[in-house]
Amino acid sequence: MVLLFSPFFLGVITRVKAFFGGRVGPSVFQPYFDLAKLFQKKCVYSHTTTWIFRAAPIVVFASVLAVSLMIPFGAFKAPVRFSGDIFLVAYLFGLARFFMIVAALDTGSSFEGMGASREAFFSCLSELTIFMNFVTLVLVAHQISLSGMIGAEIPLSWKLMGPTLLLVVSSFFIVILAENCRIPVDDPSTHLELTMIHEVMILDHSGVDLAYMLYGAAAKLFLFGGILVPILLPIHTGHGLMDTLIFVVGMLGIAIFIGLVESGMARLRLNRVTNLLLIAFALAFFGFIVRLWRG
């Protein structure tokens, strides 16, 4: 499911951006073609690199795929769900990040060092926000598992704790933008190395390795969307096909919305990104306070 749909998600965002830029834009299936092209290419390695550089794309992709086991998609229940899986989700992304940063440093290039350093910093703040949101959701749902938190109880929660969930959703949306390096935090489409975070870290990867990295990034975006959609569209018809359809519509909505945000905003100056992330944290924190106040 993730493998199948995540590039499509990316394609939709690009298409929306193109539409608002007054262009036709590439087909929504363009990311598939890009990946297919990369999978056929050979890799080029720098003399400086060690096995870490070759292992990193594999670990990054594998850990993102492992996370996908813990997130439900529409009628498809998450295959792995247990009390406490949220920590595993957060730390598997951490594992991916560790290898991404280390691989960037492996090239010995100052550009990639720069990207790595920024990634390490911004992720500290977004990690904080993610956990704050998790706490609020746990308090709302009284369950410590991701499937439980964004599961069946959500419609009731919207009635009782609407404001809390609204705050959670908005702060989580900023985290999605930051963690997946979208505008206003990072620009996935420029190649001006000095301003970038994610793109600059994978500057030296090529061929299959680059395909793994990009696929992993697309899947990560998809997974974050997959956490947000069930909270936003808490409709359970009980009919498998309908539920999945609703999920897909929700994902499309998010993709379009991300596209809108990207078209409507400029990239923030790097030293202002921290403010944006702190806003996300503040929103999450207010959500928590509202939850406590409502009892």
Partner: protein, 607 residues
């Protein structure tokens, strides 16, 4: 499962009673593992000093330290405990000052000696207060005594200060970043892995003996954990020397352990046995885990320093090509200390997180607020530790060498030094992939500290998620292997072309252009500059044709520079003034002692 051994011992109030209970068992596990590994490593490491200095004394003190620590964790009597504690402190001092020709090492050793004795003083006071109420010096008897809440509060404070100095809680940590880098690497590994844990043991023992503490004690412990954890890792980020950085990371991990103990204590105060057991068990598992991975990291750092002759991170680089095995083992340690899945750090952090989240659901309001703070700080610590260890690993082992190093191809350290590292790395992965054995053991310790009967229900509640994590870890491994095969299938067998790193068209690359550890950590350190007292010196370039400029940046330790230094300077000035004014002759000293003795006599007779 307790075992008591008694020997005759003719010391007033003292009894040579050793007791093995779950708590001592857990600490003994860590001690035995690390004594073995650091000892074997030391044989190889000290080879280079053969003939130059007396290694026998060093070996003697190392073994003495191991025995003393073993005694500390098994002693069941106050006098025996304190004797072993002093023996341990003194043996540690002699191990730290191995390189006593360097003034900085002598200074570090002396600082340690002062700090540890200040701590021991508090422990003396604490144990005598306890013994007075209990009417016995025996721990088991003490455990059956009830203490008044006020007394419990005082004892708690004395325990936190007395054991906290040893453990390195902020702000009593100042000796630690001096002493640990000063010692030879295997001693640093032992100090960081085991000796500072004895401070934690002291607190655990008091927690067990006292049974009931006022509620605020748990909050204090939790707060200490949060502050030590976050500040420890932030200070670590600002360090430029690898062993000093690792020493600050010990403070961070001690913070995590204290956080776990705080969770346990609060769970116990609010009568939530599951939370109590989880918090204590998580903390105890982290004690073992930290001993293993920090030992591994210090041993790895020692190997690098021995071969590269420097521990300055910004002068190293590309070590992975010279020492591939050491670098891989160091990577295992780095991944473990960041608490990432597949490795042991994750298991203990998972247990503490789990306890914290259970607490958020079950505790009254103020408990919820503190537990949420705990969750947030644990998340922040995790992310910062990741930043810190990607920095260490990326800058030291990867990239190009930053200063000219003469090497002939690969050059690993001797088998004596390699074997312990392999053992420790193996343990990291073993606990990470098959946590059940250690989780059971530490959960038993958690039950013991929580004063509850072992319950299969609670054990199942934690073992069940752990076994699923276990399964997911294997799925992850399977995915990795699958992707490796896909990659191999797509790329074919022929070797890939290699070329220079792409530098966006710039061709005059030199290794000096690489990111350094200072520049890597700068965004974070800069962001926290007011907390960390991050200062830059120089670095301004002026004029149309700028001349050479120099820039250095440094993170100051606030509690050292602004808390202890002024206080001790005042104290020294005061004593100097007394010294100059009145005391010139030895006879006057004797009179002072005599007067004090008379005072004591009168006081005793009055009572």
């Amino acid at each position: 499962m307790e075992k008591i051994i008694q020997f005759p011992w003719h010391v007033p109030f003292g009894e040579f009673t050793l007791k093995l209970d779950p708590l001592s068992l857990i600490f003994l596990t860590a001690i035995i593992i690390l004594t073995l590994c650091a000892g074997i490593y030391g044989v190889g490491y000290m080879r280079s000093y053969q003939g130059a200095r007396s290694l026998k004394a060093h070996a003697f003190f190392f073994l003495l330290l191991a025995v003393a620590i073993g005694l500390v964790v098994t002693a069941n009597n106050v006098i025996l405990f304190l004797c072993a504690w002093e023996l341990m402190s003194i043996a540690t001092y002699f191990l730290i000052v191995f390189h006593d020709e360097k003034p900085s090492v002598r200074r570090a050793g002396f600082l340690y000696l002062i700090a540890t004795h200040c701590g021991t003083f508090c422990l003396f006071l604490m144990f005598f207060l306890m013994a007075r109420t209990a009417g016995s010096m025996d721990f088991t008897v003490m455990a059956h005594t009830t203490f008044s809440p006020a007394l419990a509060g005082i004892i708690f404070f004395l325990a936190i200060i007395g054991s906290g100095v040893k453990a390195g809680f902020l702000p009593m940590h100042i000796w630690l970043p001096h002493a640990h880098p000063a010692a030879p690497s295997h001693v640093s590994a032992f100090l960081s892995g085991v000796t500072i844990k004895i401070g934690i043991y002291g607190i655990c023992r008091v927690l067990w003996i006292m049974g009931i503490f006022p509620n605020w004690c748990g909050y204090v412990l939790l707060t200490i954990g949060i502050v030590s954890g976050v500040m420890g890792v932030l200070y670590a980020l600002g360090q430029h020397e690898i062993k000093r950085l690792l020493a600050y990371h010990s403070i961070e991990n001690i913070g995590i352990i204290a956080l776990g103990l705080g969770v346990g204590l609060l769970g116990r105060s609010y009568h939530q046995p599951f939370i109590a057991a989880l918090g204590f068990a998580g903390a105890l598992l982290h004690v073992i885990n930290h001993a293993i991975f920090k030992g591994l990291l210090f041993l790895g750092a020692g190997a690098v320093i021995q071969k590269m002759h420097t521990g300055e991170i910004d002068k190293l680089g590309g070590v992975a090509k010279i020492m591939p095995l050491t670098s891989t083992l160091f990577l295992v340690g780095a991944l473990s200390i960041c608490g990432l899945p597949l490795f042991n750090g994750f298991i203990s952090e998972f247990m503490i997180y789990f306890g914290l989240f259970q607490g958020v659901l079950a505790l009254p309001l103020q408990g919820v607020v503190f537990f949420v703070l705990g969750i947030l700080s644990l998340a922040l610590i995790g992310a910062l530790a990741l930043a810190c260890f990607t920095k260490v690993y990326g800058i030291v082992f990867l990239g190009n060498p930053r200063s000219s190093i003469e090497t002939k191809g690969t050059e690993e350290v001797s088998a004596w030094m390699m074997a312990p590292m392999f053992l420790l790395a193996g343990l990291c992965i073993w606990i990470g992939l098959m946590p059940a054995v250690m989780a059971r053991l530490t959960f038993m310790g958690g039950n013991f500290l929580a004063h509850m009967e072992p319950s299969a229900f609670y054990l199942g509640k934690i073992l069940n998620p752990l076994s699923i994590i276990n399964g997911t870890a294997f799925v992850l491994l399977a995915l990795i292997i699958m992707l490796v095969f896909v990659r191999r299938w797509l790329l074919g067998k022929e070797p890939m072309p290699t070329s220079e790193t792409w530098s966006c068209g710039f061709t005059q690359l030199s290794s000096k252009l690489q990111y350094t550890s200072s520049s890597f950590a700068r965004p974070i350190v800069q962001y926290f500059r007011n907390t960390l007292l991050f200062r830059r010196y120089g670095g301004e370039v002026s004029g149309e044709f700028p001349q050479k400029a120099q820039m250095s940046s440094h993170v100051h330790d606030a509690s050292e520079d602004y808390l202890f230094r002024p206080v001790f300077t005042r104290l020294r000035n005061l004593s100097k003034r007394i010294d100059e004014k009145s005391i010139r002759y030895t006879q006057i000293y004797l009179i002072y002692i005599f007067v004090f003795l008379i005072f004591l006599l009168v006081w005793k007779m009055r009572g």
